[in-house]
């Protein structure tokens, strides 16, 4: 049988189209699972928003202990391991000196409070997250409903592209089995939240598991009153939106174009 080039290409084209159609038809579907989509029921107590954002008012933190309390609350709530050395450090929310949190915005005449107090930094849940763009498995993704940059630990392959991409160093890699950490080995601080496993990247999730049951993030609860303000930036009447509109706030490294959702108030008084 002979076939010219034109005929061959036509035949190949048609069969590949048929092939593509066939995979859609042959998709296996267990009839029992049709119940699942109709069966999803959202919790009425859950806190929802279009764009979760946080304002960190550093003037409300008077002592370093108050800052440490916030860090401890978060890390306890999420079973974050502490190996006691910087190489294996895992951090969701942590302390950073002003110059490291806001590089190029330092000057020698800043107030003692700003110069000496560490700043609370965490994942910025960016509007255009660099980590999400580089993730090859979509293990980290931006939630469409509320803008939280979320981690799917089940999908993470531990390539650490996201850590290279994040301009804020908000991501930590589990070089070691977190359950072997001295602070988790004997007793897990929160038995309702999973640990992670060796070989995955983790970070702050704005406490999605707490929002889902109508609670504010753990850091917000542990902070002094008004220190951390959490709310919906898309809602004109929310506290965060009012603060961001009315007062001068700064964000970390705005020049890199990621659009952080964490805003900082660093002024010495209300009119700063």
């Amino acid at each position: 049988m002979s076939m010219d080039r034109r005929k061959f290409l036509k035949l190949a084209g048609i069969s590949s189209i048929l092939g593509i159609g066939a995979t859609a038809v042959a998709k296996p579907q267990n009839p029992l699972f049709t119940g699942l989509t109709k069966g999803v029921d959202t919790n009425k107590e859950a806190l929802t928003a279009e764009h979760w954002a946080m304002v960190v008012d550093m003037t409300k933190f008077k002592t370093e202990e108050e800052i440490q309390k916030v860090v401890t609350a978060c890390h306890k709530n999420h079973n974050v391991p502490d190996f006691g050395n910087i190489k294996d450090e895992i951090k969701w929310i942590w302390k950073e000196p002003y110059g490291r949190a806001f590089p190029s915005q330092e000057n020698p005449y800043m107030s003692e409070h700003v110069k000496e107090m560490p700043f609370l930094v965490l994942c910025n849940h960016c509007e255009k997250p660099a980590c999400v763009r580089v993730c090859p498995t979509q293990a980290t993704f931006k939630r469409k409903q509320d803008g939280i940059v979320m981690m799917d630990m089940h999908r993470c392959i531990g390539c650490r592209f996201c850590m290279a991409a994040c301009p804020y160093g908000a991501r930590s890699f589990n070089y070691r089995d977190p359950r072997q950490a001295p602070n988790l080995k004997a007793e897990l601080p929160n038995r309702e939240y999973p640990t992670r496993t060796k070989g995955v990247v983790e970070k702050c999730t704005f406490c999605t598991e707490r929002l889902a049951v109508g609670k504010m993030p753990a850091c917000v609860e542990a902070a002094p009153k008004g220190g951390l303000i959490f709310g919906d930036l898309a809602d004109k009447n929310s506290e965060v939106r009012k603060i961001v509109e009315a007062r001068y706030t700064i964000r970390r490294k705005p020049e890199v174009g990621t659009g952080p959702s964490v805003y900082y108030l660093i002024g010495g008084n209300e009119h700063a």
């Binding site: 267990n30 029992l32 699972f33 119940g35 699942l36 109709k38 069966g39 999803v40 029921d41 959202t42 919790n43 859950a46 993704f141 939630r143 409903q145 509320d146 979320m150 799917d152 630990m153 089940h154 897990l188 038995r191 309702e192 999973p194 640990t195 992670r196 496993t197 999605t208 889902a212």
Partner: protein, 140 residues
Amino acid sequence: MKLYDGGKIFIGLIIFVAFAAFPFYFNVGKVNAKPEPKTDTPAIQEWEKQNGKKQCVESKEFMRTEHMQLLNNWRDSVVRDGNRGYMSDAHTKRFNMSLQNECMRCHSNKKKFCDECHNYMAVKPYCFDCHIAPKEEEKS
């Protein structure tokens, strides 16, 4: 036809067969115990007392064959879509889609419930590398 070194060959063959068949006669008579997952935890008994029967999220037959798929669906629903409530056909109750906090609340006997079958089938799911298994008393 003459077989050279017949004795050595046959001895060698016998040794070989004995060696290769070792797993078979070693296990003769030792029938592997059938897995018997237990659903007799206090939480399940309490449920049974109130409702008159044992009833998991879905039917027993469904859970037996499809629990892994169900858990995958739950995982995707919670992590990717943020939906945590599950309404099943078998109940009128809302379930929190959580392995650690919902499944294991009733099935607090991971060793007798999960591991029993998984070990028998030699499957090693890594759920509990991260998720925290309920505390169980060591009984020996």
